[in-house]
């Protein structure tokens, strides 16, 4: 996964991983898993969900000079828990509930005691589902890989 900076501290890497899973999850699926969890903790907005854009960039030749490719819609939200922990949600698209839930889970996951339960209830199923979907696409693509063979031409 390119975003995970392998030189970053372990807790940063862990957070990068769950934030990535939350952002890439289908919004409806995340909402369903979140509501299955039941009682929502007390929380308040630090920054209400807001939709805007980020400019996406490419590199000439894939590895050269940067250039602006075009924008993408993005929604962000920040929440605060009663104990002061802050969670951020940054998600592609315009679904404000997606950004809010991602921010809430991000805040809750920072409590190491609460983390395993959330990991099992939300992060793990989302990861497995994304992996399965990806594997199917990769197997379909693999079926279109060309096997060259050489025709032996005799005298």
């Amino acid at each position: 996964m390119p975003a995970t900076d392998t030189t970053a501290p372990a807790d940063t890497q862990a957070r990068q991983r769950w934030m990535s899973v939350l952002a890439k999850a289908p919004a409806d699926r995340l909402a369903a898993l979140w509501s299955d969890l039941g009682d929502s903790p007390d929380w308040s907005y630090l920054r209400r969900p807001e939709t805007g854009m980020i400019m996406l960039r490419g590199r000439a030749g894939g590895s050269g000079q940067r250039f602006n490719l075009g924008e993408m819609t993005m929604t962000r939200c920040s929440v605060r828990l009663p104990d002061g922990r802050v969670g951020h949600g940054y998600v592609a698209g315009r679904r404000q509930d997606h950004a809010t839930t991602a921010a809430l889970v991000d805040a809750l996951m920072q409590d190491e005691a609460a983390r395993p339960a959330l990991e099992a209830a939300i992060i793990e199923p989302l990861t497995l589902e994304a992996d399965a979907k990806r594997a199917i696409a990769a197997r379909k693509a693999a079926a279109t890989k060309v096997d060259f063979f050489t025709m032996v031409r005799g005298e």
Partner: protein
Amino acid sequence: MYVAVKGGERAIDNSRLLLAEERRGDPAVPELTLAQIDQQLSLAVDRVMTEGSLYDRELAALAVKQAQGDLIEAIFLLRAYRTTLPRFGYAEPLETAAMHLRRRISATYKDLPGGQVLGPTFDYTLRLLDFDLAENGATPEAEMAEEPLAGAMPRVADILGHGGLIEPETPQDDRPVGDVTRDPMTFPADRDARLQALARGDEGFLLSLGYSTQRGYGKNHPFAGEIRLGEVAVEFVPEELGFPIEIGEITITECQMINQFQGSTTEPAKFTRGYGLTFGHCERKAMAMALVDRSLRAQELGEEPKAPAQDQEFVLYHADNVEASGFTQHLKLPHYVDFQAELVMVRRMRETAANNATPGDDFEEAAD
């Protein structure tokens, strides 16, 4: 003479209503949903996102629906919408070498590492109308290999690069990135501004220009070094976090053209490059963009620009279909006063000519 004209409000309102009715078509036919457009007209959505310069499948599908399938009109709608949103920042450059590939081909290496992966393509279709599609109901299923395709595959240009046979691309990350949506274009334009303008540019215009280079107007001997389609993560560094996070995943198409270069007195012969990158699956556009990117590099590579595709001002000032469409279609706006003025002037010129003519010239004033 100046005549202020008002009126037509009711005609305009009724025209809008008529348009809405025409857009809907026969109410006995079920209405299209955005999900249907997204899923079944996905390449239209891809083009609208690329040239509309905004990645949002649902908004692009809405634009296609609202524009009755007129893609340039849909691109205009998406461009207009993007001006209403704030820009939160800039993503990290997309790491195309880490793409999850669904298609990857090279016309330069048969046995490239990772192999030739055809993916979904029109290339091997017979281009015969498929009347089975006229009937509803079929749900085709793709074959699945036992093993998934390898995750990341090296870019072909990077493989060739090792021998020094191809010009390297250097990151130059200390340079600011030009933005043609914020700063007016200046010439000669830097490659970042050119690539951005080409990425937003009209597919038809770039396709024809690319084709013109192949036919000899600014020839540069292209090979399709690599074309790849797949999904790539979008990374962003929020200020309050200070480290990159992935905020989603998008589909992109990348094309690396490899072009011959004769070499010069200071440089040995080597291959040069042209680059194309689009949102979604826009392969023809990515290829055309790569051809035109290379042709616009004529000057920096010491080639004498002679052909239209090598002329930066010509290409970059005319590639945007929203601008081109606007200026062409503004001719429909009332030009009554302009035309009145021209009419008076033409009459006066003819009168002057008639008065100066000698009686024997048999000149007649035809405008009366």
